[in-house]
C-alpha cells in the first residue's frame, strides 16, 4: 500500500489524542457558561421589576417589616383626584408628539432618501443630530429660546407688545418632543424608502403620474410598516419621557404620568411608596401592551414590504423648480430643531443673561465655566458620567456580545425565552427602572454594597440598554454563515472555544458599534438615575436637573455644552476614525 508517510502512525496518534484532555471534559463548560449568562440576564431584568410589583401590593414601604399585602394601592390610584387629568394629558401628549415626529421624520426620509434634494447628505446628518442629545438639554434649549421668558419669545414680544405663543402647553410640549423624536422616525423609514423598487415608480410614471402624485400614491403606502413601527415607538418614548414634561409641564401644573411618579416618589416630603408602586405597574402595563400590539401589527405588516433581491439603485425623483423652495423649508426646519440647542444653550453657557434687552456682546462671559469647575458636584458628575459611560460601555458591550452568542449561536434549550427576557427592558420606561432598582436596593441586603455608588447606575444603565446593544450585534452575528461555527465544532472546539476564537473576533466591529451606542446613551442617560444617585454618585443629567430647578441656569448650560461636546466628538471620532456605524 502506497500510504502517505506522514499518516503512517495514525493509530498511535489517535490513542494519544483520546487520552489528551478535552476542553469539554469537565462536565460541559458550555452549559455552565450559558446558564451563568442567562441567570445574570434574568437577574438584571427581574431585579428592578419584581420589587416594584411587590411594593404595589404592600400597604407600607417594602423595607418596613410590618408591611401587609393589599390591593388598596390600586384603589387609591384609581380614585386619585389627579389621575383623570394625568391620563388625558399623557395620552394627548403622546399622540400629538408622535404625530409631529411622523410628519417631520417621514418628510425628511422621503426627501433625503428618494429625491435629488441638494446637500441631502449634510441635511441627513444635521437632521439626526438631536438623536445624540439628551432630552434634558433639548428641553433647556427650547426653554431658553421659546419659553415664557425665552430669547425669541421676548424679542417678538418687544415688537408686538404681547407674547406670541405659550410653550408650556400640551401642543407646545408635543412640538418639542415631536421634533426631538423626528430623527427616530427618519431612521426607521429611511432604509425602507431607499429599498423601494424603482420599477413601481416607473409604472406609475408611464401611467402619467407626476412626481408628487407618485410620492403620495406609491411611496407612502409602501412605507406603511415603517410608519406603524415608528408611530408606536415614538408614542411609547413620548409617554415615558421625563425631561420635557418635568421642565415645561410642572411650572404650570400640567401633570403627566412620569411627572406624577416623580413628584409623588421623590419631591414630596414623605414619598407614597404604595401609590408610586401601583402607578409604576400601571405605566409598565400600558407600555408593554403597546409594544405587544406593535409586534402583532408588524407581524402582519411585514408581508407587505417589497424587498427586491436585486441590488437596484433607485432612481431619484426630480424636484424640479421646487428644489430651492424645499431647501429653504428644510433649512427653516433645521433652524427650528437644532437652533434651540445650537444657539440657545450655547449662548446661555457663555453669557451672564440671555435677553433681547441686554446686548449679547455686553453679557459675554466665561464665568459659568469657572463656576462649573469650582463646584465639586459639577466636576464630580462629569467624571462619574465619563467613568460610567466608559466602564459600563465596555462591560455592557462584552456582556451583550456573550448574551447574543448564547441566544443566536448555541443549542441552549431556553435560548428563545432568554431572548424575550433580554428584549423586555424595551418595555420598561427609564424612570421605572430607576424606581424598581431603588426598591430592590432597599429590599435586598446583597445589593447594599452598590447602594449610592456609580456601580448601581452602571448595572441599571446596562439593563436598560440590553435591547439596544442586542440590536447592534444580533444582525451582524446572523450574517455569519452557520458553517463557520459548525466547522469549528467538528474540528473539536466546544461552544465556548468556538465563540471566543471564531465568532467573537468576526463580530468585533459590531461589538465596537455596541460599545459606541452604549457610551453615547450612558453619557446622556438621566431618567433611570434620578431615583438612584446620591451625593458622590451624581451624573451630568441628574446634576443638570437639580441645579436647573434651583435656578443655576448658567452653569447648567455650561454643563450641557460639555455633555454635547463630549458626545459630538465621540460620535465623530467613532464614525470617522474607527469607522463604527452607530445608527443604521
Amino acid at each position: 500500500m502506497g500510504r502517505h508517510p506522514v499518516l503512517a502512525q495514525k493509530t498511535r496518534f489517535q490513542l494519544e489524542m483520546r487520552r489528551a484532555k478535552w476542553p469539554g471534559d469537565m462536565v460541559s463548560r458550555d452549559r455552565s457558561i450559558q446558564w451563568l449568562i442567562s441567570a445574570a440576564t434574568c437577574l438584571l431584568v427581574v431585579t428592578p421589576l419584581a420589587p416594584m410589583l411587590y411594593q404595589s401590593l404592600l400597604d407600607k414601604p417594602l423595607y418596613n417589616d410590618a408591611a401587609l399585602l393589599t390591593f388598596a394601592n390600586y384603589g387609591r390610584l384609581i380614585h386619585h383626584p389627579d389621575l383623570p387629568s394625568v391620563l388625558t394629558n399623557t395620552l394627548l401628549y403622546g399622540l400629538v408628539s408622535s404625530g409631529i415626529a411622523q410628519v417631520f421624520g417621514l418628510t425628511a426620509a422621503i426627501l433625503i432618501g428618494r429625491t435629488n434634494l441638494p446637500w441631502r447628505g449634510v441635511f441627513g446628518d444635521l437632521f439626526l443630530w438631536p438623536l445624540y442629545i439628551s432630552g434634558l438639554v433639548l428641553a433647556f434649549g427650547w426653554i431658553t429660546m421659546y419659553g415664557p421668558s425665552g430669547f425669541v419669545t421676548l424679542s417678538i414680544e418687544k415688537v408686538l407688545g404681547f407674547r406670541p405663543w405659550e410653550l408650556y402647553t400640551i401642543p407646545g410640549l408635543s412640538l418639542v418632543t415631536g421634533v426631538s423624536l423626528a430623527p427616530l422616525t427618519f431612521l426607521y423609514c429611511i432604509s425602507s424608502t431607499r429599498m423601494q423598487d424603482p420599477s413601481l415608480e416607473d409604472a406609475a410614471r408611464i401611467g402619467g403620474a407626476g412626481p408628487i402624485r407618485i410620492l403620495l400614491t406609491i411611496n407612502l403606502p409602501l412605507l406603511r410598516p415603517a410608519i406603524i413601527f415608528s408611530t408606536m415607538m415614538t408614542f411609547v418614548i413620548a409617554i415615558e419621557s421625563l425631561a420635557i414634561p418635568l421642565l415645561m409641564g410642572n411650572p404650570v401644573g400640567l401633570q403627566f404620568f412620569t411627572t406624577f411618579l416623580y413628584t409623588n416618589g421623590l419631591e414630596r416630603g414623605t414619598p407614597d411608596y404604595g401609590l408610586v408602586g401601583a402607578a409604576a405597574c400601571l405605566l409598565l402595563l400600558m407600555v408593554s401592551s403597546l409594544l405587544l400590539l406593535q409586534n402583532y401589527l408588524l407581524r402582519r405588516a411585514e408581508r407587505f414590504v417589497t424587498v427586491g433581491g436585486k441590488a437596484t439603485r433607485p432612481r431619484l425623483l426630480d424636484l424640479g423648480r421646487m428644489k430651492w423652495i424645499v431647501v429653504a423649508l428644510f433649512l427653516a426646519y433645521l433652524l427650528l430643531a437644532i437652533g434651540p440647542v445650537a444657539f440657545g444653550v450655547t449662548l446661555r453657557g457663555f453669557t451672564v443673561i440671555l435677553s433681547p434687552y441686554v446686548p449679547i456682546s455686553k453679557a459675554l462671559t466665561l464665568e459659568n465655566f469657572r463656576l462649573l469647575l469650582a463646584h465639586e458636584t459639577y466636576v464630580r458628575s462629569i467624571i462619574n458620567t465619563l467613568a460610567i459611560a466608559l466602564i459600563g460601555g465596555l462591560i455592557g458591550a462584552g456582556f451583550i456580545t456573550l448574551l447574543t452568542l448564547v441566544i443566536k449561536r448555541s443549542n441552549f434549550g431556553l435560548r428563545r425565552q432568554l431572548e424575550h427576557v433580554a428584549l423586555f427592558p424595551r418595555a420598561v420606561p427609564g424612570l421605572l427602572v430607576g424606581i424598581g432598582a431603588f426598591y430592590a436596593v432597599a429590599l435586598l441586603p446583597f445589593l447594599s454594597p452598590v447602594r449610592g455608588t456609580i456601580w448601581i447606575l452602571i448595572i441599571v444603565f446596562i439593563m436598560r440598554y440590553i435591547p439596544t446593544g442586542y440590536g447592534a450585534i444580533a444582525p451582524a452575528l446572523m450574517q455569519i454563515g452557520r458553517d463557520i461555527d459548525r466547522s469549528a465544532r467538528t474540528v473539536g472546539a466546544d461552544w465556548w472555544s468556538t465563540s471566543m476564537s471564531i465568532l467573537a473576533p468576526l463580530i468585533r466591529p459590531a461589538t465596537l458599534a455596541c460599545f459606541a451606542l452604549l457610551f453615547i446613551q450612558f453619557l446622556n442617560e438621566y431618567s433611570s438615575a434620578v431615583f438612584l444617585f446620591s451625593p458622590g454618585s451624581e451624573v451630568i443629567g441628574t446634576t443638570m436637573l437639580i441645579f436647573w430647578a434651583q435656578g443655576s441656569v448658567g452653569p447648567v448650560a455650561a454643563l450641557a455644552i460639555i455633555q454635547i461636546v463630549i458626545t459630538t466628538v465621540f460620535v465623530l471620532v467613532a464614525r470617522r476614525l474607527l469607522g463604527i456605524r452607530i445608527y443604521g
Partner: protein
C-alpha cells in the same frame, strides 16, 4: 478499525420527515457516497453523523465507539467525535491565516507549538499548498480554499472524513481535476470517507459504494456499477444517468423472462426477478446509450421497436435523437449519425429493467 455502523437513523422537523430508517456500514478505508437530489436528506444525514444535529432515532458507531444511541439516550457532542468535515462553503475562518486555520484544531488538542507547526506543514504538503501558509482565505481561489479546508480536516487525523459537496463550488474544468485528485488523496491517506453529492458523475467516479437517497430514505446501496446497471427503482434508473420508460402490460412469464406488450401493441422481452403476474401493469426502463438504432430497411429483429426520429441534436462526440414509438417518446444516444427518419430501435434484453407500475 474505523468501521462506521449506522442503524435506523431518523430525523423529523416538526411533522416533516427529513431522514427515515437510514442504515449502512462503511468499512475501514472505504469511500461511500450519499447521492440524491436536493432535499433528499443526504445533508441532514451527514449533519447527524457529524454531531451537528441530534437524531430522533438511531444508532451510530465509528470503530466500535458509539456516537449516539437513542435507545440508551447516548449522544456524543460534535467536538468530541474527532471527525473531519469539509463543508460545501469550505467555511474557512476569514480572520485567520491558513496556518491558524489548520493549527486551531491542534491547539485545542494541546499539541505544543513545535509539533503543531510540523503537523500544519505536513497537512499542507498533503494538499500541495505549503507556499500559501501565511495567506488569508480571501487571498485564495476557490480550488485553493477547498484544498486548505481538506488539510484543516485531515491535520488532526480524524477517524472518519465527511465531505459535504466540496466540489460543487468549483467550475467544471477544475471540478474534474479536483475529483481525481481527491480520490487519489483518499486512497493514499486510507481514511474512511463519507461523501455527499447530488452530482451522479462525481458519485460514480469517486465511490467504492453509492447510497442513493430519495425522500429521506436510502433506496439503493451498491457499487457504482450495480447502481447504474441494475437500478432498484424507477427513481434510481432516472436519477442516475437517465432512462426511457415504456408503459406496458405483462402477457406471459417464463424462465425469469417477462413478455410485455407496450401500449401501441409492440412487444418486448425482458429478464426479471420480480414475481410478476399476467395482466399486471409495468414500466420498462432502458438507458438512451444502450439503445441501438438501425434503418428500417435492415429489418426488424428481436426486442425492437419501430420508431420515427422527431428531433436530432449534434453534440460533437455523439448524437442525441428524440424518437416517437407509438405514443411513447424516447431518447437515444448514438455515436454515429443515421440517415433515415424511419428507424428500428433495438433494446437489448439485459439492458432493460422492469418495474411494477405504481
Amino acid at each position: 478499525m474505523a468501521d462506521v455502523v449506522v442503524r435506523g437513523l431518523a430525523r423529523r422537523y416538526g411533522g416533516v420527515v427529513a431522514v427515515e430508517a437510514v442504515s449502512f456500514t462503511v468499512k475501514n478505508g472505504e469511500f461511500l457516497t450519499l447521492l440524491g437530489p436536493s432535499g433528499c436528506g443526504k445533508s441532514t444525514t451527514l449533519g447527524l453523523l457529524a454531531g451537528l444535529d441530534r437524531p430522533d432515532e438511531g444508532f451510530m458507531s465509528v470503530g466500535g465507539e458509539t456516537f449516539f444511541d437513542t435507545k440508551r439516550g447516548h449522544f456524543v457532542e460534535a467536538e468530541k467525535r474527532n471527525l473531519g468535515l469539509v463543508f460545501q462553503s469550505y467555511a474557512l475562518w476569514p480572520h485567520m491565516t491558513v496556518r491558524d486555520n489548520i493549527a486551531f484544531a491542534l491547539k485545542l488538542r494541546k499539541i505544543d507549538r513545535g509539533k503543531r507547526e510540523l503537523k500544519v506543514r505536513e497537512a499542507l504538503a498533503l494538499v500541495e499548498m505549503e507556499t500559501y501558509i501565511d495567506r488569508y482565505p480571501n487571498q485564495l481561489s476557490g480550488g485553493q480554499q477547498q484544498r486548505v479546508a481538506l488539510a484543516r480536516s485531515l491535520a488532526y487525523r480524524p477517524t472518519l472524513l465527511l465531505l459535504d459537496e466540496p466540489l460543487s463550488n468549483l467550475d467544471a474544468k477544475l471540478r474534474d481535476k479536483a475529483r481525481s485528485w481527491l480520490r487519489q488523496l483518499q486512497s493514499q491517506v486510507g481514511i474512511t470517507t463519507i461523501f455527499v453529492t447530488h452530482d451522479q458523475a462525481e458519485a460514480l467516479a469517486l465511490s467504492d459504494r453509492v447510497a442513493v437517497m430519495d425522500r429521506g430514505r436510502i433506496v439503493q446501496l451498491g457499487t457504482p456499477r450495480e447502481i447504474y446497471d441494475q437500478p432498484a427503482t424507477p427513481f434510481v434508473a432516472d436519477f442516475i444517468g437517465s432512462s426511457n420508460f415504456f408503459k406496458g402490460t405483462v402477457r406471459a412469464i417464463s424462465h425469469g423472462k417477462a413478455t410485455i406488450t407496450l401500449t401501441d401493441g409492440q412487444i418486448l422481452v425482458v429478464p426479471t426477478a420480480l414475481p410478476l403476474l399476467p395482466d399486471q401493469s409495468v414500466n420498462i426502463a432502458c438507458r438512451p446509450e444502450r439503445i441501438r438504432l438501425s434503418p428500417v430497411t435492415e429489418g426488424v429483429g428481436e426486442n425492437t421497436l419501430r420508431a420515427k426520429i422527431v428531433e436530432e441534436s449534434y453534440l460533437g462526440s455523439r448524437v442525441v435523437y428524440t424518437l416517437q414509438a407509438g405514443s411513447e417518446m424516447m431518447r437515444v444516444e448514438a455515436t454515429e449519425e443515421i440517415g433515415e427518419r424511419d428507424v428500428v430501435a433495438h433494446l437489448p434484453q439485459h439492458w432493460c429493467t422492469v418495474f411494477r407500475a405504481s
